[in-house]
């Protein structure tokens, strides 16, 4: 589907990429490798093709949503199989309008993802687990009323954990440890997404400027000669 010129374009974007997140922790942690960058940009361009982003008939909001969708899918695909990437795709496919795009972009991968147990079907038993757990925590808190600062700290952590669960895709069904692990991975991937989109923007902007200047150059020459 992508021609040689596509890959030249991708290489230009990769070259423009300024590695602000080339941090490496453990072997298991997320690293922004060349492979990741290539996979992301390739997937972005595939997404643009699939949603025909360059056509003039699209409205601004529609085009923006298509770009954002492409970017999120690209990030998930480039990262591979993680809890948050599965959560992201699952979340996107919950909306009817996204499904045909996901089908087109992911192909058989999408079918396989759909085959995996859907988190939404676990909602009811999970709720009971959470209620039971929070009741246990409440009992524990009542017993430890003497340690006021400890209780306050734990409540705050609970509150922040709940917020984090809503921000990280698939977070609702994660336990504390997984949530932290996935959050770290997700944050690094998000940073890479931002940097790569920025480099894509820069590349398109600069090539547009070049094309614009090429057109105006003959006019400038003429005026110079005139002087």
């Amino acid at each position: 589907m992508l021609s040689r010129t596509h890959f030249i374009y991708i290489s230009a974007c990769v070259a423009a990429f300024s590695p602000s997140c080339l941090l490496s922790f453990s072997v298991a942690a997320m690293q922004v490798t060349e492979a990741f960058k290539h996979a992301f940009l390739k997937q972005m361009l595939l997404g643009f093709q699939a949603s025909a982003v360059s056509t003039n008939s699209m409205g601004f909001q529609e085009r923006k949503n298509a770009i954002k969708l492409s970017a999120d899918v690209a990030m998930a695909v480039a990262r591979g199989s993680r809890k948050w990437t599965r959560g992201l795709i699952a979340g996107l496919s919950e909306e009817q309008q996204n499904r045909s795009f996901l089908q087109l972009i992911l192909g058989e991968q999408y079918e396989r993802r759909l085959m995996k147990p859907c988190y939404s079907s676990w909602k009811i038993p999970r709720c009971r687990k959470i209620v039971r757990r929070s009741l246990r925590v409440c009992c524990r808190r009542q017993k430890k009323k003497k340690n006021q600062s400890g209780v306050l700290a734990r409540t705050l952590v609970e509150k922040r954990t709940q917020q984090l669960k809503r921000l990280v895709p698939g977070g609702e069904s994660m336990d504390g440890f997984s949530l932290l692990d996935e959050t770290l991975d997700y944050v690094l991937s998000l940073r890479a997404q931002v940097d790569l989109m920025q480099s894509l923007l820069t590349t398109v902007e600069s090539s547009k400027l070049r094309s614009h200047s090429k057109r105006t150059l003959p006019e400038r020459k003429a005026s110079y000669v005139g002087k």
């Binding site: 952590v157 770290l184 997404q193 090539s207």
Partner: protein
């Protein structure tokens, strides 16, 4: 990492056995946050790290949104005649 642990441990979020690993993750998360260079020496509380992480994720989401808008504007204003514009269009079509 967590796959090595038995399922029962995975479901309890604050078990004594994984406390060290949790602290390890929290400090790694702290290192990733934008002001990490300034505050790396301090031992910031877990709640603070979580809060900062939430804020950071939200700001990254906003950045992606903003970049999507700018890309949308850029791809909207297509100029037809030059070769460069044609290449971009065919690449992104």
């Amino acid at each position: 990492m967590s796959s090595r642990r038995p399922r029962s441990w995975q479901s309890s979020s604050a078990s004594r056995i994984t406390d060290e690993q949790i602290n390890d993750l929290v400090s790694k998360l702290q290192a990733v946050l934008p002001e990490a260079r300034i505050r790396r020496s301090d031992r910031v509380s877990a709640a603070k790290v979580l809060q900062e992480t939430c804020n950071y994720i939200r700001s990254l989401h906003r950045e992606v949104d903003d970049l999507s808008e700018r890309l949308s504007e850029l791809l909207a204003s297509t100029e037809s005649s030059s070769a460069q514009a044609a290449i971009i269009r065919s690449l992104l079509m």
